[in-house]
Amino acid sequence: MSKIKAENVNVYYGSKQALFDVSIDIAEKEVTALIGPSGCGKSTFLRCLNRMNDVIEICRVEGSIKMDNLELNSRKLDVVRLREKVGMVFQKPNPFPKTIYENVAYGPTIHGIAQSKEEMDQIVETSLKKAALWNEVKDRLDEIGTGLSGGQQQRLCIARAISVSPEVILMDEPCSALDPIATAQIEELIDDLKKEVTIVIVTHSMSQAARVSQKTGFFHLGKLIEFGPTDKIFKNPDNQQTQDYITGRFG
């Protein structure tokens, strides 16, 4: 079942066009990986899905992006409500310089999800457990989140993202700043999370895309070259460019 349906999305940074007619169907409760060389527009597309491009003043998005029949690329859309439903994990771990507890409790607080302190404690605990961080931090929830190791920080960011029970989580190269062990932990986590949420992940690591995703889209120079089941993209792509990129001949 399709969760997000993008049709003919064009993105411009000032006069420079960054995305050309991208159309893509993102299936519910699956992991969709977006791959492609640097500057190909995969992150730009990802940021269209929770309207993070709004922050960039010169950025203009055209086309239609629908999530459950809700038009995302509309001026009338309440981005606060959208971002409650579509969480995001960034390339570099960016926990708030506050305590671990406050980091996870921030989303539920501003969206009024928890009614009481007990409920909040519960949300923080569940989120940290889902992010596989609970056992490591349960005794030091009042320590500053930025004092954790890189991998722990990224899992804290994932816990923060899932604390508001989003329907979709966007991940923008979540493992590029992490060592292989931390990367493996995050990948396991993605596998667990997809039971409940739809995940879109941008990655530079082909093997990561192959390991975690069910669908893969290959971007090149702002165009979606090929999109399909991960197995097919990696084993038997239709397009020559995809074949070349996957086998490491360019990019």
Partner: protein, 423 residues
């Protein structure tokens, strides 16, 4: 390695060595100037922290005090006539002196000596009818003689202290009746025309009130302006224009702000002249751009990743700013504020224009009482010829410097204490 390469390498090392030397020389020069300046101030000013007293005996004679009551009340003591008692206390130093020459003795103590005689009795009512020793503030001239600032070997007519007075001084000094003690009244007294009585209490309080008023006006306005400009305002020609103007405002000579204060605050709004309220508002005009620039710089220094994190969690712009960006920028903003205030603290020109240069011999209790300020006090005293004021100028500079150092220290502490680590 061929010769050309060797020479090149040698040149590079030499250039680096030379550059380091230039740096060392520059620092050395700066330190030398600072040392000379400090030495000047301290060597001239330290004696202002010592006060000279003349000890004599006073007889609280009920008849001379014109007290009739058997057991006089506080009021009786308050209203008694101390002129004769005080006069006798001084003239008793040399009973042989003819009456018409008595001024020579009276001039050796401050003109307030009668009040000092009165205060001693009011403090110790049981001294009534007794002969007790009393400390009287020595006059500016005796004070300077005692501190060794007046040469004694020049002709008498060129001296402010005549031979007779020197003779009395020597006699008292030999008896140990000239005391030199820490000058508390320098900190507790308001300004005075007499150097031996002048203190910085009124200008100090004036400065404190001015700075508080300045803080109260400039901080909220500047921080709100900075937050709006940095986080909310659209980036267009108009905001660029505002930014350029704020930067220009920071470079406007302070006397111009004084004229503005004079023309608007005093002439249009009719605020009370010579008060820290007007002074503080005028100074806040000067401090505003400094704080805005510092606040904007520290808002800019907050990593965009923190903003993105908050926005991606569904925080509104306002929440992102108030929950994350502003708290993270506070250390920089606060230390910028303190530095702005420290600048305002040393300002003289605008305060002179709005009338804070007036001679104020009361200690202000509120920001709407007339007051001077420390830098203006320095200016006022520096125009006085008496040697006593010369040392007071230096002492006042020391107090001002101490105030400045304290504020800069506060800025450092604020910065270190509230600085948080972000990744």
């Amino acid at each position: 390695m061929n010769n050309y390469k060797k020479n090149l390498l040698k040149k590079r090392y030499n250039a680096e060595r030379r550059f380091q030397w230039y740096g060392k020389i520059a620092i050395g020069l700066a330190l030398t100037f600072l040392a000379v300046f400090m030495f000047q101030i301290f060597s001239k000013g330290y004696s202002a922290f010592q006060k000279t007293w003349i000890v004599t005996e006073v007889h609280y004679d009920k008849e001379l005090l014109l007290i009739d009551a058997e057991s006089p009340s506080k009021d009786d003591l308050e209203n008694a006539d101390y002129y004769d008692v005080a006069y006798k206390a001084m003239t008793s130093l040399d009973p042989g002196l003819p009456e018409e020459e008595d001024r020579q003795l009276i001039q050796m103590v401050s003109y307030k000596y009668e009040t000092e005689v009165k205060d001693l009795l009011l403090k110790n009512p049981d001294f009534l009818g007794k002969i007790v020793p009393i400390k009287l503030t020595a006059s500016d001239d005796v004070d300077q003689v005692h501190k060794g600032n007046y040469p004694r070997d020049i002709p008498e007519k060129n001296r402010r202290v005549n031979d007779y007075q020197l003779q009395i001084y020597d006699m008292l000094n030999e008896r140990g009746d000239i005391l030199s003690e820490f000058n508390i009244s320098f900190f507790t007294s308001p300004d005075s025309r007499e150097a031996e009585l002048a203190g910085i209490a009124s200008s100090f309080m004036g400065t404190v009130f001015s700075i508080l008023v300045c803080l109260a006006f400039s901080f909220p306005i500047a921080v709100l302006a900075a937050i709006y400009l940095e986080e909310f305002a659209p980036k267009n020609k108009f905001t660029d224009f505002i930014e350029v103007n704020i930067n220009n405002l920071a470079a406007v000579p302070s006397i111009v702000f004084g004229l503005l204060g004079l023309g608007i605050l005093l002439a249009v709004f009719n605020l009370p002249r010579s008060t820290p309220l007007v002074g503080g508002i005028t100074l806040s005009l000067m401090t505003l751009p400094t704080i805005i620039i510092a606040a904007r710089a520290s808002l800019k220094a907050v990593p965009p990743s923190i903003r993105e994190a908050a926005l991606a969690m569904g925080a509104s712009n306002m929440q992102t700013t108030m929950h994350h960006t502003v708290p993270l920028s506070m250390p920089g903003t606060l230390s910028g504020t303190i530095i702005g205030l420290a600048q305002a603290l040393g300002e003289t020109a605008p305060l002179i224009l709005i009338g804070m240069v007036a001679f104020v011999n009361t200690i202000p209790g509120t920001p709407v009482d007339p007051a001077a300020s420390l830098p203006v006090q320095i200016y006022i005293w520096s125009e006085s010829a008496e040697r006593g004021f010369v040392e007071k100028v230096s002492a006042c500079i020391m107090v001002l410097l101490a105030f400045l150092i304290l504020m800069n220290l506060a800025a450092q502490i604020v910065r270190h204490k509230f600085e948080k680590k972000w990744s």
